[in-house]
């Protein structure tokens, strides 16, 4: 009995000593008056590649990552897609999903998105390819702290190669460049960290 108590105490001590990395909450900003404001990613309305609604209900209780893309993109999207397929295949947890928002809403019809989705070989209830109105797209890109342009410029990308990581409380916990292999390793670690929170 005495040995068990000592073992238990040692175990508690070890757990409290092994400090886990903490991911900061990044969905906040300093407003024009110098006050820090927090926000949640909780108000959006998109349509999935299968024609279903995608709202806050789909991300409740989930950890997810979000990125912007378009199916005709031949520059940064193919390597980004490869990394996302790897992440989707590696992290086998029903509480983790991926969301990809098309910025080419004229060309990327739901059937185009569905075909693109099928090419990934990832389950359609794990990786959602989403389409929304230009207003919805602009609004959510601002929340994800990114931007996109519809005119190609040699010094700029159409969109960023970053993904945002969102926790179950709809807060942003990290930004990661999918074209940076070190960042992808960190992203996988951080997803697992949030899944175990």
């Amino acid at each position: 009995m005495k040995t068990n108590t000592i073992t238990m105490l040692l175990l508690i001590l070890c757990i409290s000593c092994s400090k886990e990395r903490v991911l900061p909450i990044l969905s906040n900003y300093i407003d024009e008056n110098g006050t820090t404001r927090s926000y949640l990613i909780n108000d959006y309305h998109f349509t999935t590649q299968l024609g279903n609604e995608f709202t806050i209900e789909n991300t409740k209780g989930k950890i997810y990552i979000a990125n912007f893309f378009f199916t005709r993109c031949s520059s940064i999207c193919p390597p980004m897609r490869e990394k996302l397929i790897d992440i989707a295949a590696t992290i086998d947890n029903k509480n983790f999903i991926l969301t990809s928002y098309t910025i080419d809403i004229k060309h990327d019809s739901l059937s185009v998105l569905n075909r693109y989705s099928e090419g990934t070989m990832i389950s359609k209830d794990k990786w959602f390819f989403l389409k929304g109105s230009p207003e919805e797209l602009t609004s959510i890109s601002e929340k994800f702290r990114t931007s996109f342009s519809t005119t190609q410029n040699s010094n700029d990308f159409y969109h960023s190669s970053y993904v945002a990581l969102i926790d179950t409380k709809q807060q942003i916990r990290g930004f990661y460049d999918l074209l940076n292999s070190e960042a992808v390793i960190l992203l996988k670690e951080d997803i697992n960290l949030l899944l175990n929170e």
């Binding site: 900061p24 990044l26 300093i30 024009e32 990114t146 996109f148 960023s160 930004f175």
Partner: protein, 383 residues
């Protein structure tokens, strides 16, 4: 027993084949790729220390790289390298100011400082979404590569002018890369580490600086790599390679930011107005150059005013390959730069060697950030 012997023979043959083909493949790789494979192998087998170590105090962040194995000549961009992310304290959301940066080469055995000739470069990248998102400066996101600065061979340390700094929050994430260099040592094999010291302050209120990187790019034709230098038009180049550091201008020309120089004095110019992309009148307070050995003079000119903003008289080693000093510019008063002016980079090179050498020429500029200063003042009043 016979079946076991046969199986053993097949396994042994496959293993031999893999070793032979692996060795052939490795020997055909470039020096840079060999260094990547070697470093990964040595780190993954823990033959040399693969870990970064971080130590923070109230005044500085000390980052020590994994060990790098130096067994060969490693020119710029070829040597062993390592990258990592760091933040000051992920649990705190406090405003701080970076004020100075130093990188040193050390012996992993006794931590004694080694020659700066073993440092190719050390880069810090900020995270656009975190840095600008925090201040709600959304129009700045994705507008430029998020490079904060690069310290390189010839300039291994600098401090911002008194009263200026780079603002960051304790939980803000940065990405760093450091790469080893060895232009001269061929008679020994040894290990090194790089130690990076970032000094910061929390208590003072400083003026914020905004970084901007510009780099020289020269036009080239894809078949230029096979041509003699005499056939290359003025102010164009032979690229070191055509995969990395290759860019395209609006006219569809291919440009390289990493090119070969030869044994003759050569002057290159580049119109940097578009890269600078100055939107409003700004004041530059710090300029850091990034150059390779055999650079002689590097200048940033205001072509409209016909004035020189910054000139770097490069001091090369006299008895071996390397840069003794590439002086930087630092000023509390600063120099005004205008959105309507034209700016030009001018580089003079002179190699003393018969074999072609590689060249890059970049500037890291730091402008007073008035917009962020107003935001920081309000933030400080609220907190």
């Amino acid at each position: 027993m016979m079946a076991f012997k046969k199986c053993y023979k097949i396994t042994f043959s496959i293993l031999c084949l893999l070793i032979v083909s692996g060795t052939i493949y490795y020997s055909l790789l470039s020096n840079r790729h060999q260094a990547i494979i070697k470093t990964r192998l040595l780190h993954s087998l823990h033959i040399i220390d693969p870990e970064w170590s971080t130590n923070t105090t109230e005044r500085n962040i000390l980052l020590t790289s994994p060990t790098f194995f130096i067994d060969n000549i490693y020119k710029s961009m070829e040597g062993p390298k390592a990258s990592t992310f760091f933040s000051l304290n992920s649990e705190k959301d406090e405003l701080n100011w970076m004020t100075s940066y130093t990188v040193k080469a050390l012996s992993p055995i006794n931590n004694k400082q080694l020659s700066n000739d073993l440092i190719c470069h050390f880069n810090i990248d900020y995270q656009d979404q975190e840095h600008h998102g925090k201040w709600n400066l959304l129009d700045r996101i994705n507008k430029q590569y998020p490079r904060l600065l690069s310290l390189s061979h010839g300039i291994e340390s600098f401090s911002f002018p008194k009263g200026f700094g780079y603002p960051f929050f304790s939980n803000e994430k940065f990405f760093i890369t450091t790469q080893a260099l060895n232009h001269n040592i061929t008679d020994s094999i040894f290990n090194i580490k790089h130690r990076i010291n970032i000094e910061y302050t929390t208590k003072e209120i400083l003026k914020p600086l905004r970084p901007k990187t510009i780099y020289m790019m020269l036009p080239f034709k894809m078949d230029a790599t096979n041509k003699p230098i005499s056939q290359i038009p003025e102010n164009s180049c032979i690229p070191v390679e055509t995969k990395n550091h290759t860019y395209y201008n609006k006219a569809g020309e291919t440009l390289s930011g990493h090119w070969k120089i030869f044994k003759e004095e050569k002057k290159y110019t580049y119109d940097a107005t578009e890269q600078l992309d100055i939107q409003d009148t700004v004041t530059v307070h710090q300029i850091i150059p990034h150059l390779h050995p055999f650079a002689k003079k590097f200048t940033l000119k205001d072509k409209t005013n016909n004035t020189i903003i910054y000139t770097c008289d490069v001091i090369n080693h006299t008895n071996k390959i390397g840069l003794t000093n590439t002086p930087s510019f630092s000023s509390q008063k600063g120099i005004i730069m205008y959105p309507t002016h034209q700016y030009e980079l001018e580089l003079i090179t002179k190699s003393t060697l018969d074999e072609p050498q590689d060249m890059m020429a970049s500037l890291f500029l730091f402008f007073y950030d008035k917009e962020m200063d107003l935001k920081i003042n309000k933030y400080n009043n609220e907190n």
